[in-house]
């Protein structure tokens, strides 16, 4: 059964087309991540799924039920907002119980669900506190708790980690992954951070300017990007793009090669000047210039390389990507011999 499907969804605000012919499906229990640059329409898409925004045309199905005419609270969804959106005048327990009271559940049931959720999220000590008396990470957990207690068929997350600091972000990311394992509910997660997308997703949907560029599993997209945008968006450091004539191809063709698929080899013909070195301890990133094209090389371990040094680079022929000037992927068999 499909937990979510969007069919030919379009959305415009006045004359501005924000979403263009979006077709997306999610299986039950799948973790789907919408990723794309700022302003590409991720939040709008999520709000359409939630029912907070109407589609201009197209259809939304949740658990194979058409929900275009169904209000948010009847869609079986729960949503975690970017700003947490906790009710400032209600304490943690009441924040979590409001939706359940609206549904008219029995007091005992509500109590039990709150206990379960707060135990799961380590919030038992904070139930009587107000949101202003919590840290950012705790507020985040309350927001997630408020979603969990509803026992929805579909979780929606809108950039839930963007207000947290780096360390907390990694922790909370793990917690969300665990949560998905425990609940095995379908989750739709919006982010502009490709690392979050790669680490959490069963399926990534890459959006750009309101269009789906590509959808698939993280490794599918990483290893087999459909176009230059997807290739450049996923992976960190991101893929290098070089003019085709460096390898004796048509000058309009663009060569894409990931930083880990370039080696330093004295016997290679491609010479480069080191511009910058990033020593990360476990990895070393070398930014070099090949006839005025910046190239990032990712080396494993620690290397003594200095700025200004001359090095020779070798591209891994098995892992080259070719794109036409419009960014559409070309057939690489000719160069992968």
């Amino acid at each position: 059964m499909k937990a979510l499907s969007l069919k030919a969804v379009n959305k415009h605000f006045g004359p501005v087309q924000v979403l263009n012919d979006i077709n997306i499906e999610a299986d039950e229990g799948e973790f789907v991540v919408f990723v794309g640059p700022s302003g590409c329409g991720k939040s709008t898409l999520l709000r359409i799924i939630a029912g907070l925004e109407d589609v201009s045309s197209g259809e939304v199905f949740i658990n194979e039920q058409a929900v275009n005419q169904v209000p948010p609270s009847k869609r079986g969804i729960a949503m975690v907002f970017q700003s947490y959106a906790l009710y400032p005048h209600l304490n943690v327990a009441k924040n979590m119980s409001l939706a359940l009271k609206q549904e008219g559940l029995a007091k005992a049931v509500i109590e039990e669900r709150i206990q379960n959720a707060s135990r799961m999220l380590n919030l038992t000590d904070y139930l009587k506190r107000y949101p202003s008396e919590l840290s950012g990470g705790q507020r985040q957990r309350v927001a997630i708790g408020r979603a969990i207690v509803r026992q929805p068929k579909l979780f929606l997350f809108d950039e839930p980690l963007s207000n947290l600091d780096a360390a907390l972000r990694v922790n909370t990311r793990l917690e969300i992954a665990n949560l998905h394992k425990q609940l095995s509910t379908t989750m739709v997660y919006v982010t502009h951070d490709q690392t979050e997308a790669m680490t959490l997703a069963d399926k990534i949907v890459v959006l750009k300017d309101g269009r789906v560029e590509q959808a698939g599993s993280p490794m599918e997209l990483y290893n087999n990007p459909a176009n230059r945008f997807v290739a450049g968006f996923l992976g960190s450091p991101s893929m290098n793009f070089l003019p085709g004539d460096l390898l004796g191809l048509n000058g309009d063709t663009v060569i894409g090669v990931r930083p880990e698929h370039i080696a330093i080899n004295e016997n290679s013909a491609m010479s480069a000047t080191v511009l910058h070195v990033e020593q990360l301890g476990g990895d070393t990133n070398v930014v070099a210039s090949v006839s005025d094209n910046p190239v990032t090389v990712r080396l494993f371990g620690q290397h003594a390389i200095n700025e200004g040094q001359q090095i020779n680079l070798q591209l891994d022929k098995q892992n080259l990507y070719l794109f036409d000037p419009q960014g559409i992927r070309l057939d690489e068999t000719s160069v992968r011999h």
């Binding site: 907070l52 609270s73 729960a78 939706a99 202003s132």
Partner: protein
Amino acid sequence: MQVHSARGNVFNATLMHGALLLYTLIALFPVFVILINSFKTRKAIFREPLQLPNAESFSLIGYETVLKQGDFLQYFQNSMIVTVASLSFILLFGAMAAFALSEYRFPGNKWMGLYLALGIMIPIRIGTVAILEMMVATGLVNTLWALILVYVAQGLPLAVFILSEFMHQVSDELKNAARVDGLSEYQIFFKIVMPLVRPALATVAVFNMIPIWNDLWFPLILAPAEETKTLTLGSQVFIGQYVTNWNAVLAALSMAILPVLVLYVIFSRQLIRGLTSGAVK
């Protein structure tokens, strides 16, 4: 001596508190004079207006006159009903209009807001004759409703203006969260937005309360009958063209201050609690 603490220096703090204290004294002085003189004999009021009442000058004659003359309790009750009812309607309808203006996009939204705010600049008393004619036509003259309706009309423009500014600041995500949680638009208004703009509600209430309580104009014109007289109007009997019964006037004023004071304390509590609860947006 440590002059500087983390949050500012002691000298500045002293200066600031000194200024505030001075202002408080100046503001409270007239009230104080009214209160002490209301407990004195007529002679003592004129001879030593700033002296506290002592065994010789102490007298309750003012209060006795006030309580004997006319139906003072009735006036009191009328004033209370008019003020509380007017404030409730101003806050309720003002907040509802402000919510609609700030939350929903509809054609003419801007113009509607401007139209509602226009009333701030036009004194309602200009329309007194027309209002009186309307009240006569609807048979509302000499009812408390006449006063309540006029005061609501008078208070709404500023209420809508202030409240819609505050409601703009309640984040959309919060309202969307409430929609996902299954609250209806009315519940969002009453359970989420109203509690969050409580400081603004208190401000509007305080701004409107005192002019309504003290108003003489409309009670005199629209409801001068004995059974609908307000406190301010009722007290006028003691102020004659040639002789003024100062004992009674001062006693009536002292008693009129009390209820506003109580209302004010209630609202300002709300105001302070609203400000310190630290809204999380």
